[in-house]
Symmetry: C2
Subunit: 341 residues, 2 copies
C-alpha cells in the first residue's frame, strides 16, 4: 500500500537470497552457470520482492535498449497505420519495443524526432521519410552508427535498406487503363518531386502517355499536399483546365478522396464526368463500398519486412550491401474509373 514503493533493485534481490548481484544477473539472463538450488532461491526472492529488472540500466551497460523507432509522416493515413501495425508486431516478437513518431510530413519535426531518437539510444530506426530533404537527418544517423531502413520512399544519395512499392510500374498501369478506356486528357494530382514515390508515379504517368502518343500537357499535372484537402484543391485546379480532363490519376487514396469531393462540389460525378484512379486502398471503405479503382499495396508488409531487415542490421549482419525490396502491387478495377468491370 506504500504510494511509491522504493524501487527494488538487483541488490535487494541479492541480499534477500544471500548471493551476489552478479549471480542474480545470471539468473535473470538465463545463463547456464548457476546451480539449480541457487537459481531457485534467487527466483523465490525475485517473486517475493516483485523485482523487475530495469531496461534502462541494462541499456546503459549493455548498449542494448530493446527499442527501435518507427517514424511516419501520418499515422492516421491508413497506409501508414498498417505499416505501424506490421512493424509493432514483428518488433514485439523479436523482443523489441517501438517508439512511434508522427512527423506530420514536417521536415523540421522530422529532424527533431530523429535527434530525440539518437538521444534515446534506440537500436535502429524504420522511417518513411518526408522527402529527399530528409537526407541530412539520415546522414546524421549514419554518422552515429544507428542502423535504419527506409519504408515506402527512397532518399537520393542515402545508402540503406529500403522497402518500396511499384510506383512507376503501378502508375503506368493505372494510366494505361484510363487510356484503354478512351481517355486522352488525363490529369494527375501529385506531391512535390522531392518525394520518391511522387517522382516515380509521375514518371509512370508520363511513360504511359508517351507510349500512347499523347502529348504531355503540364497544365494537367498539379501539385498538392498528400491529404484530402490537397486533393480537393488539386482537383479544383484541374477542373479549370481548358478543355477539362476527362480522367484523373491521384497519387494516393487520401488525395483521391478530396478530389472526389471537389468533383461533387462542381455538381459533377465520378466516374461519369471525371474518371478517377489512385494508389492505395482504404480497406474499411472498400469493404463497405467498393468504389475506387486502385493499385493496392501490401501496406502491412512494408512494416513487417522493413522491420525484419532492420533487425537483421541490428544483429550485425552488418556490412552487407544494402538491399532494395520491391513489393508488388495489385491492380483492382472498381467503379471510379468508369470501366464496365
Amino acid at each position: 500500500m506504500s504510494p511509491r514503493p522504493p524501487n527494488v533493485t538487483i541488490k535487494d534481490v541479492a541480499r534477500v537470497s544471500g548471493v551476489s548481484p552478479m549471480t542474480v544477473s545470471r539468473v535473470i539472463n538465463h545463463e547456464r552457470r548457476v546451480r539449480p538450488e541457487t537459481r531457485r532461491r534467487v527466483e523465490a526472492a525475485i517473486a517475493e520482492l516483485g523485482y523487475v529488472p530495469s531496461r534502462l540500466a541494462r541499456g546503459l551497460s549493455g548498449h542494448k535498449t530493446g527499442t527501435i523507432a518507427l517514424i511516419v509522416p501520418d499515422v492516421a493515413n491508413p497506409f501508414f497505420t498498417l505499416i505501424v501495425r506490421g512493424a509493432e508486431d514483428v518488433a514485439r516478437r523479436a523482443g523489441y519495443r517501438i517508439i512511434l513518431c508522427d512527423t506530420r510530413s514536417d521536415l523540421t519535426l522530422e529532424r527533431d524526432v530523429i535527434e530525440e531518437m539518437i538521444a534515446h539510444r534506440v537500436e535502429g530506426i524504420a522511417i518513411a521519410p518526408v522527402s529527399d530533404r530528409s537526407r541530412l537527418h539520415l546522414r546524421r544517423l549514419a554518422r552515429f552508427g544507428v542502423p535504419f531502413v527506409l519504408l515506402d520512399r527512397t532518399v537520393s544519395d542515402v545508402d540503406a535498406d529500403v522497402v518500396l512499392g511499384e510506383s512507376a510500374a503501378g502508375a503506368k498501369r493505372l494510366v494505361e487503363h484510363l487510356i484503354a478506356l478512351g481517355h486522352r486528357r488525363i490529369g494527375m494530382i501529385v506531391e512535390s518531386d522531392d518525394v520518391s514515390t511522387a517522382r516515380d508515379r509521375r514518371r509512370g504517368y508520363e511513360q504511359a502517355l508517351e507510349h500512347a502518343g499523347i502529348a504531355l500537357d503540364t497544365e494537367l499535372v498539379v501539385l498538392s499536399t498528400v491529404d484530402p484537402r490537397g486533393g480537393f484543391a488539386g482537383m479544383q485546379q484541374l477542373l479549370k483546365a481548358q478543355p477539362r480532363p476527362t480522367a484523373v490519376f491521384a497519387v494516393n487514396n487520401l488525395v483521391a478522396l478530396g478530389a472526389i469531393e471537389a468533383v461533387w462540389a462542381e455538381g459533377l460525378e465520378v466516374p461519369d464526368d471525371i474518371a478517377l484512379v489512385c494508389f492505395d486502398d482504404i480497406e474499411y471503405a472498400s469493404r463497405l463500398y467498393p468504389f475506387l479503382t486502385v493499385m493496392v499495396q501490401p501496406a502491412e508488409t512494408f512494416g513487417t519486412l522493413g522491420t525484419q531487415l532492420l533487425l537483421e542490421r541490428i544483429r550485425g549482419d552488418g556490412h552487407r550491401r544494402s538491399r532494395v525490396v520491391v513489393l508488388p502491387a495489385e491492380f483492382v478495377v472498381r467503379r471510379s474509373c468508369g470501366a464496365r468491370a
Copy 2:
C-alpha cells in the same frame, strides 16, 4: 567515416572545453549558474563533437525517462488510430515520447507488455484495456507506482483517471431512433460483458427497449469479437432468429462492416431488409460514401485528453481524487438506418 563512432560522452565534452562534466551537465540542462563565456565554450565543444546526451543515463540517475506507454487493443481500428495520433501529439509537445503497444485484444499479451513497460521504466501509461480482467495488470502498475489513465473503457474496482464516451446514452439514442422508425424486433451484436463499453451499450439498448415497452428477447443479443469477422458471424446468427430482426445495433463500426457483409451474403439489403446503426464513424469511408448511421465519438480527443491527464499525474499533481471525463458523442443519421433523412 568510422563505422561505429565510439559514443561521445559528457566527459569528452568536458575535456575539450576544459571544464568538469558537471558544468557541461549544467549547460545542457539550461541551468542559470553558468558564466556566459563558459557556456559558449561548452556549446562550441558540443557542436564540434556532435554530442547528444543519453536519455538512458539521464533516466537512470534522474528517474525521468521521458517516455510514456500507449497500449491499445488494435492500432488499425480507426477509433484507436486516432487516439494514437492524439496521444502522440500531446506527448511530443510535452517533451515525451510514446512507446506503442498493440495487444490484439489479448489479455496475456497485455499482461506481458505492461510488464515490459514497467521494465522500461516508462513514466506513465495510457491504456485502452482489453477488459475488466485487465484488473490484475493494472493493480500491478499501481503497486509499482506507475501512473496510468484508462481510455474508452473503465475497469471495475480500479481507481484511475478515465476518459469515456457516452456509451449507455449513445446506445439508447441509437436504439430509440430505430424504434421511432417503427422497428420492434431489434437485434444487437456486442462483445462480452466484461468490457465496460459493451456493458454500457447493452444497458442503453435494454433501456431503450424497456421505455418503449418492448420485451427483451435474449435471442436477439449475440456476442462477437470486435472486428468484421465477429460482426459477420453475429449477423449470420441474428438472421436465423424467428422471426428475423428488422434492425440491428452493432457495438462498433468494424462489427457493423462485417454485419453488412453477412446481410449481403444472404442476398438481403441494408437498410431495406435490415436497418443498421452502430458506434464510431469511419472517417475516410463516410466522406466517400456517407452510409452508416452512427454515434460519432471524438476519437482523437480521447487520446489528447487522456494524455494530458496522464501528464498531470506524472508531474505529481498526484493524490487528487481520480477524474472521470465523459466525452459527448454526436448522433449522425445517414442511410443505413433507413430513415428518409
